[in-house]
Symmetry: C2
Subunit: 305 residues, 2 copies
């Protein structure tokens, strides 16, 4: 059987102490079969975002090793940061990449959540596709009031963890574990200082107000630059591809005579998210990703593992 490949973007509540950050990511560098693609620490957020790709077994082992380091060094009672969080290891999402589908990733998240609790004592909430309660599909709902509020509310039936008892870990809080599709962060900057334009366009394209089913978004001002931004999360770039969302933003902006100044892709994205837009604009018929040298090389190297 061809090797399964998943992506995982664990978030840790440490963005300031370089030695702790280095210790947390060390297990990801050491594990064969687990590839550390990127890690970014943000001091304001006091948060570390790690991008991993690997085979499910080695990747889960490395996650547990990293979690043990985080538990040893992070105390949520004293942690401060601008980004919402409920635990030292705040969130662990699994994303299917190759030779594995979403149901298998959900099963993996559930099995990992149990093992994670057994080995660390940290209670676990399941979210997105792995949610066991509908209201826990949304990460925001699980993190409501953050660590400080959850410390008390964890005792209520509504906020009881999916794995573990009705109390948080004394220093590490709780962890949200789940399975989801690849999320593409895509911002469209517009040549106007009128933030209402960005807000109205965000409302037109996002799911919560009736737009595209797999798009989240807000409008905000980029005051320093004299622009406004439609800040988007594409939670299913296959169903709602970049080009379609961008062209819809462009079309709506024309109502006010506003042009797109530029766009930004934040963080990582799968090649397919850009190739589908290249194929659309270039009108390429019958395009096959196997024609892309690097993708085919990756297949070839992967087969040899």
């Amino acid at each position: 059987m061809a090797a399964q490949l998943i992506e995982c973007v664990p978030n840790f509540s440490e963005g300031r102490r370089p030695e702790v950050i280095a210790a947390i990511v060390a297990p990801f560098k050491a594990a064969p079969g687990c590839h550390l693609l990127d890690h970014r620490a943000d001091e304001d957020h006091n948060r570390l975002v790690v991008s991993l790709v690997g085979q499910p077994g080695p990747l889960q082992d490395a996650l547990l090793a990293a979690a043990r380091v985080a538990v040893a060094h992070i105390d949520m009672a004293t942690h401060r940061g601008a980004h919402p969080r409920i635990g030292a290891i705040d969130v662990i999402p699994f994303t299917p990449l190759k030779n594995i589908d979403m149901p298998a990733c959900v099963a993996l998240a559930h099995a990992f959540g149990q093992r994670y609790h057994d080995e660390t004592g940290i209670p676990v909430y399941f979210y997105e596709e792995a949610a066991l309660r509908p209201e826990r599909k949304q990460l925001e709902a699980i993190r409501r009031g953050q660590y400080e509020a959850l410390r008390d509310e964890v005792k209520t039936p509504q906020r009881r963890p999916d794995v573990g008892g009705a109390e948080l870990h004394p220093t590490a809080g709780a962890t949200v574990i789940g399975a989801r599709k690849f999320l593409v962060a895509f911002n469209v900057n517009l040549r106007t200082t009128d933030v209402r334009v960005a807000k109205q366009i965000a409302a037109a394209v996002r799911a919560s107000s009736g737009g595209f089913c797999h798009v989240k978004g807000i409008g905000l001002a980029l005051t320093d630059r004299g622009l406004v931004q439609v800040s988007l999360n594409l939670v299913d770039h296959e169903r709602n591809p970049l080009y379609r969302v961008l062209e819809t933003v462009r079309m709506e902006a024309r109502r006010w005579g506003v042009a797109v100044a530029e766009t930004e892709v934040y963080g990582m994205l799968p090649a397919a998210a850009l190739l589908s837009s290249a194929a659309y604009y270039l009108q390429v018929a019958g395009f096959d990703p196997a024609q892309v040298l690097e993708l085919q090389l990756l297949e070839t190297i992967g087969d040899g593992e």
Copy 2:
């Protein structure tokens, strides 16, 4: 030092006998450090086109092993095929991919050409960036009259090989070896049956009639489909990117009220050739290929070799 990576697309004069084709490609499958991405045999052309990526050392060793197989099975005296050719191993182009530049690829082609002649007795012509005579930059010039004409003309000073004496190998003919950039085959199909439109647009965009410096092209009719085609080779997709060439074709076609029906990318191309067009149309500012998950994964895996 990070591993050097080159691409190589050797062409063999055998497109009909499956057992010979399998024997020729076998060394490319067996060699660690050499990756066989694709191979296509064409019966009409009686020709085999192989796509390889690898480190220079193992790739050259595998090329020599494959050449020995080709010499043992192909006799140019009896070979017939629709594609121009001068030898059993007709052409071997090296293309720099990573951690190697064009001058180094030219040096590699020259050193390989000498070794190739020493080990096989086949005379060698150098072409493209590796050409030692200006008139041999163009493959067509070296192949003029094909094997049948070259058999006699090889004795003239003008057609004497760059490596080897003034005669062809008794069965394998001669081989053209060189270094060149990645060639992207890109066709634009237009909604008209008037082939003059395709011919005039090809003339407008290609270098030989004053268009883009790194574009070759012809216009032809796709009679069965009721379309015409501007058939293009982009010999430097960084200097003349796909989007710029396509938009110029589109702009010229508007003169006749003709629309682009579709485009075709033939064969393989590097990810950058499509990503640059995606970034143009999506207006992505500050885009970094390291943001593409598969490309970063390839870097990570490559570092581990």
